[in-house]
């Protein structure tokens, strides 16, 4: 049941940062001379999603039907003061965490899966399809599709498919169909399998397969991250956080989140951008995927097949195959253009943490707060812990986005699932 307090916390609109950026956002660009991949989006995205992507409305009304589903899957999510962690670290300031793991599918991904599936359903399409790394996005897509009675075809990066068999069970429970990618379901997948039979797969390959599948089956492609529209939908996280801080009489001095494609991070931090430069904002990535420190800020491919338009972003190159790291959701080679621009201009700082720092942070967080966070979110927690250690004598209010739980990612600690 939803209480009036909860309703007050949930925003009525999604927030799009683009009208508030300090410089113009470079538009997506066709990668081929005589073909428009931008036009192709008309065939693979629900019209309303495409319209939102390119209209750049600062405030986009959240449809009532989507609001209802947000309530059903556990919005608003809690903002919790991590007193035990503060004590453990001996910190004089405050640490809060916004807990997106409290949603039904266990991560923030459901925040954009619901509206996208809703718009696809309204268009009367055959189904939806997407790629997934660790399986969080695939689970969210499968549930959202199921809520609207649509079939879902999911291409899961092969290494994750092998490492996380229980995710497949979850997606199947939500009526989703899952195959390891590269797969034999698409021409692109068959080509990669022939050329690199042992490839662990990448999100770029998965995206290429899902787009091809969408075109062949009149399905709509669900955008996990990177494209602006998914960051806009995720803005419920940051807007709720602002409201919750306001109710508590608190002000965020530092915001920290992890970046795969940028959706949980953008959703969490962008609603604070129009307030000025007072809040320090830090984006954390994996040491193995150092897109902000070693990537170039340039136009690059989103998917490895080059079907989608190029975006100007920080990128390690669409062919980048990261080590088979523990945090599948952070393996993506690029990051959302709006986030990339803000990092390039110095408004948002970046950090990288190593696997051992992340594991220590996850253990500490579990020991102190009882939450087993997702490995991706462990990066944000690790950066927060490092921040506290480096600013011991200050008493700032640090807010961390814990983008998901890691109950199905326990194998990173050595035990088999």
């Amino acid at each position: 049941m939803i209480t009036s307090v909860n309703r007050d916390i949930m925003p009525e609109n999604w927030y799009n940062v683009v009208p508030d950026l300090p410089e113009p956002l470079a538009p997506p660009r066709d990668s081929k001379q005589d073909f428009s991949s931008i036009n192709l989006l008309n065939k693979i995205l629900p019209k309303e999603v495409l319209k939102q992507e390119f209209t750049f409305r600062r405030y986009e009304k959240i449809p009532d039907e989507v609001m209802e589903q947000y309530e059903q899957i556990g919005r608003p999510t809690p903002l919790i003061r991590a007193r035990n962690l503060e004590k453990h670290l001996g910190y004089r300031g405050k640490i809060f965490y916004k807990y997106e793991g409290a949603t039904a599918t266990g991560s923030h991904k459901i925040n954009t899966a619901i509206p996208q599936a809703y718009y696809a359903m309204k268009e009367g399409v055959n189904g939806v399809t997407t790629e997934t790394g660790a399986g969080q996005w695939g689970s969210a897509t499968a549930l959202a599709a199921s809520l609207y009675g649509l079939p879902a075809q999911i291409f899961m990066v092969r290494i994750s498919f092998e490492q996380k068999p229980l995710r497949k069970t979850v997606m199947n429970l939500y009526n989703g169909n899952v195959v390891p990618s590269p797969s034999t379901l698409t021409e692109y997948g068959r080509k990669i399998l022939k050329e690199h039979p042992d490839t662990p797969g990448t999100l770029g390959i998965g995206i290429s397969e899902a787009v091809e599948y969408a075109l062949d089956h009149d399905y709509r492609y669900m955008v996990a991250s990177v494209m602006n529209v998914s960051l806009t939908h995720q803005s419920v996280i940051g807007q709720e956080t602002k409201k919750q801080l306001e109710i508590l009489g608190e002000h965020a001095d530092v915001l920290i989140g992890c970046v795969g494609g940028g959706s949980n991070f953008g959703g969490f931090t962008f609603p604070f951008i129009p307030d000025g430069d007072e809040t320090e904002i830090i984006a954390t990535t994996a040491d193995e995927v150092p897109k902000f420190s070693r990537g170039d800020y340039k136009y690059d491919l989103v998917d490895s097949a080059g079907v989608l338009p190029e975006l100007r972003m920080y990128s390690l190159g669409a062919d980048f195959v990261p080590p088979t790291i523990y945090a599948g959701g952070l393996r993506y080679h690029g990051a959302s253009p709006s986030l990339s621009l803000l990092i390039n201009r110095g408004r948002i700082k970046s950090d990288e943490v190593t696997e051992s720092e992340v594991k220590d942070a996850l253990r500490t967080f579990a020991n102190t707060q009882g939450i087993i966070a997702a490995p991706e979110s462990g990066h944000a927690i690790a950066t927060a812990i490092n921040y506290v250690k480096a600013h011991r004598n200050e008493n700032k209010t640090i807010v961390v986005n814990v983008s998901g739980h890691g109950m199905l990612d326990l194998s990173i600690f050595g035990e088999k699932q």
């Binding site: 683009v18 950026l21 428009s36 008309n42 495409l50 319209k51």
Partner: protein
């Protein structure tokens, strides 16, 4: 009077066929004319205009067009160059002097504030000093503060691209989009371009306070097929829609 602005890439499909279309263009029906100087990397154009650039690049001959520049000037049609900064930045003085000599009124530079933001203010002020119009090019992705700041540096009309690239068809919210730019720049002349073709689009844009439209991709089809009659009819019809 609402402005009708046809766009042509110089040198496309070849110099003599383009001249033929310029010859039959009903000058009394248009207000401004936009000439694309062929670019090596027309990055913010769609596939149709991109093709005109790559063809135009190998054909363009300056001597062919000077008499047309003269002709349009004498007919009181203001001429604007569409040029990418990436192409002209190394010979900027020379290029602007060339345009001024040919009595162009101004220049549209689609990549200036996107790719060369830090240099853009200096470039605009330099053009102001030369008495040459800089036409701000904005799109729905341009942040509010940039629209206001850049527009405040000039008195000219504004070019507002409705699509992320020329000649493609992404659905957009016409009422919201026009209201936003009208609110940000009250009283300014806003001309819409990028992806306009139907009478309906134009009617709605004018109803929402637009001051004109630029048409490019749609004309290429007629130029490609040598459809001179269709071309003249289309310009006449658009004039009618604008004046309705």
């Amino acid at each position: 009077m609402k402005k009708l602005i046809p766009y042509f890439t110089l040198g496309y499909p070849d110099n003599s066929r383009l001249c033929r279309f310029l010859d039959i263009l009903p000058v009394e029906k248009i207000n401004y004319i936009e000439f694309g100087f062929p670019s090596d990397d027309p990055r913010y154009d769609g596939p149709v205009i991109r093709k005109t650039h790559s063809v135009g690049n190998s054909n363009f001959s300056d001597s062919v067009y000077s008499k047309y520049f003269d002709y349009f000037y004498k007919n009181h049609i203001k001429m604007y160059s569409l040029s990418y900064f990436s192409d002209i930045k190394d010979r900027f003085d020379e290029f602007i002097a060339y345009l001024q000599k040919n009595r162009f009124s101004g220049i549209i530079i689609p990549d200036l504030i996107i790719d060369y933001f830090s240099e853009s203010r200096g470039v605009i002020e330099d053009l102001n000093k030369r008495g040459f119009e800089y036409i701000p090019f904005f799109s729905p992705a341009t942040p509010d503060s940039i629209i206001k700041n850049v527009a405040s540096l000039t008195d000219s009309w504004i070019y507002y691209g409705l699509q992320p690239s020329t000649g493609i068809e992404i659905p957009y919210e016409l009422d919201y989009t026009t209201e936003r730019i009208n609110t940000l720049l009250p009283g300014r002349e806003i001309t819409y371009g990028f992806g306009i073709k139907s009478d309906e689009d134009i009617k709605n844009l004018m109803k929402n306070g637009g001051s004109g439209v630029a048409i490019g991709t749609y004309l290429v089809k007629m130029i490609d097929s040598g459809d001179e009659k269709g071309f003249v009819d289309y310009i006449n019809r658009m004039r009618g829609v604008l004046d309705a």
